[in-house]
């Protein structure tokens, strides 16, 4: 083998390696869109912002109920259906009394005195369901309803109130579910 043949072989060797590396680079880069598509197809976290705010409002209502019961143990909430959380301009429905203290000064929240929070709360409605369980317990279900992506959703907290105060263990005979 002479020198010219050797250099020719070397040239052909290096071109084979470069072709292989180019193939690998293309193959690697084609994987990224695949990974991106998989990433997009991942289910999003179930807790959306609306869902979280509804949870906070339902928590507020339940805690307000606990506070009311601590001050007046005879208080039992009544059934409420779809009352707004804030005062709507064109609606005759008033917010439930559990949502009276939305402002530090005790005023009703409206779109002028606290617009940022008002618009955040506007999509939500509040309901209370009650029923007597086992003749001794009064079950209260505080629900916050909202519409998200044309789907009606709700968040609810349960509260079990003992009707027989003498057997109440603590906290006015109430228990959290």
């Amino acid at each position: 083998m002479n020198i010219s043949q050797k250099s020719k072989n070397k040239y052909s060797d290096s071109s084979t390696l470069i072709e292989l590396l180019i193939c690998l680079a293309i193959l690697s880069s084609t994987l990224y869109p695949l990974v991106y598509m998989l990433q997009l197809s991942r289910p999003k976290h179930p807790s959306s912002q609306n869902e979280y705010l509804a949870t906070l409002l339902a928590h507020h209502a339940t805690e307000a109920l606990v506070a009311k019961r601590a001050l007046s143990p005879e208080f039992l909430p009544e059934i409420v259906s779809n009352s707004p959380v804030v005062v709507h301009k064109n609606s005759a429905n008033r917010p439930h009394t559990l949502f009276d203290s939305l402002m530090p000064d005790g005023a009703q929240m409206n779109e002028t005195n606290d617009p940022e929070v008002f618009w955040a709360f506007k999509p939500f409605n509040f309901s209370i369901d009650t029923y007597i369980a086992d003749n001794n317990f009064y079950k209260v279900i505080c629900q916050v309803n909202y519409t998200s992506n044309n789907l009606k959703s709700r968040i609810y907290f349960d509260k079990l109130i003992s009707l027989n105060q003498s057997t109440s263990p603590a906290n006015g005979g109430d228990s959290d579910d």
Binding site: S48, E63, S101
Partner: protein
């Protein structure tokens, strides 16, 4: 005329396989670690709010009295001992644990915030936090002071 490479095909195959596996593993790693920005923001604010909710809920279970200031609240137990205090300073909500003498920033980048109790319900502490980013939801909820005794 056929080309002859310096490296044999048999020795190239494991290298190729190793590279493909490495790229696939890197892809999987990116898949599990990367989050889309809007989703991560939501998760971020929700997890911070959950921290606030859990901290305040644990504190108010023992609270008999809440001393509310302009941008702060101090929680006292039935023995009038200081349990914890929450203050909004420079857009940050800071919880001070008086027993451990420690401070913790629960959330930052707040536009404003307030704590209050209602005249009709003095045993209900309401918290309202408004983030600086208007796209993020406000924090609004209440906590019954479980150690409250009506005087």
């Amino acid at each position: 005329m056929t080309k002859k490479g310096a490296i044999k095909l048999e020795s190239l195959l494991p290298i190729t396989a190793a590279l493909i596996i490495a790229v696939a593993l890197f892809g999987c790693f990116r898949f599990y670690t990367l989050k889309l920005n809007p989703v991560s923001d939501v998760l971020d604010i929700n997890s911070k709010y959950t921290d606030i909710l859990l901290e305040m809920r644990a504190d108010t279970l023992l609270t008999a009295k809440a001393i509310v200031g302009e941008n702060n609240v101090t929680l006292l137990n039935a023995k009038k001992e200081n349990i914890a205090s929450y203050a909004i300073t420079d857009g940050k909500l800071i919880r001070t644990d008086h027993s451990k003498k420690s401070e913790k920033i629960l959330i930052d980048k707040l536009k404003n915030g307030a704590f209050w109790t209602n005249a009709n319900l003095p045993n209900l502490l309401t918290v309202r936090l408004l983030p600086a980013d208007p796209a993020e939801i406000p924090f609004f909820t209440s906590f019954a002071l479980r150690g409250y005794k009506h005087e």
